[in-house]
Amino acid sequence: MSIPVDLDRRFRDAAAHSGMLDAAYDVVDSPLGPLLVASGNHGILRISFDPDVEQHVEWLSHVAGRSVLRAPRQVEPLRRELDEYFEGRRHAFDLSVDLRGVTPFTERVLRELALIPFGQTATYAELATRAGNPKAARAVGMTMNRNRIPIVLPCHRVIGANGSLVGYAGGLERKVALLTLEGVLL
């Protein structure tokens, strides 16, 4: 027996409103396919192109706490900013990101990454230099590959020294789509 959709939504809204959730998530539509988005009281926790919900719920519960619930209302601000970005009406995200659990190096790299503006790119080596370790281009590549918050933390703006796109954890075609949206690629 399932419960009425309306009742289910009312509880999820009330839970979001209560402020008691460690993490809320939803699966939202985007031009790049369904996105799993999750946020907690300290900001965005996860954006993923892989909508395998169960695996994400386990991860969120591990990282943020066990009070994890699918609660569209709580991730609504994030969904709205993403919508605006995909419609070309937003060039920077206002919401904060929750990077708990990452190493200090990863955090430095991601903070620098966040500073690359819409429509511009940097190379792995340049980002490594900005993060204070010019020799760490490979480690920067790894950090981009493991980026929990793609799009908002714009790892799609990081490319190879020879101008090649190199790779993208969400699939190279999505990197192409994002760089096209931003006018970097035609």
Partner: protein, 153 residues
């Protein structure tokens, strides 16, 4: 023995929501069951981060629902007698200690059964009773004292 892991709240909610709704509809009817449903899972959510193990979560949430139903009755008829707690499959917490605690007031009975029948913590019991851990401890100890008096009389 390894403690039973506590699932993410989403998993817990998905697993028990239809049974909780069924219980509340039987006790309160369709209209009043909806609000009670929300209240039940909000109480559970409030206590969820303090759970110490994942055992008896079904008994726990059904007991919360039973308590919420009693509160709804009480609000509806402030001067009426409290409804008698009945034995049915939806209130498994009362199976073991059911007969023994039959004569206790509902709150003390719930506290005694959850504490000694299910080994729940006072934090968890507080969520069931919608009160503080101290009040839950108080209810359990008053209940036990009352039982001692009855059984020795």
């Amino acid at each position: 023995m390894e403690a039973v892991a506590i699932p993410p709240f989403e998993t817990f909610y998905a697993e028990h929501r239809s049974e909780v709704l069924g219980l509340l509809r039987r006790k309160l009817g369709r209209d009043r069951a909806d609000d009670a449903f929300q209240e039940t899972f909000l109480r559970a959510l409030r206590a969820y981060e303090r759970l110490e193990h994942g055992e008896h979560l079904r008994a726990w949430v059904l007991t919360i629902a039973s308590r919420v139903a009693i509160d709804v009755h009480r609000r509806a008829k402030p001067t009426a007698e409290l409804p008698e707690l009945t034995h049915d499959d939806a209130r498994p917490a009362y199976e073991d200690l059911g007969e023994l605690t039959d004569g206790l007031p509902p709150k003390e009975r719930a506290a005694v059964v959850l504490r000694y029948g299910y080994d729940l913590t006072y934090d968890q019991i507080a969520a069931v009773l919608d009160s503080s851990p101290d009040a839950a401890r108080q209810a359990a100890s008053t209940g036990v004292r009352r039982l001692r008096k009855e059984t020795s009389a």
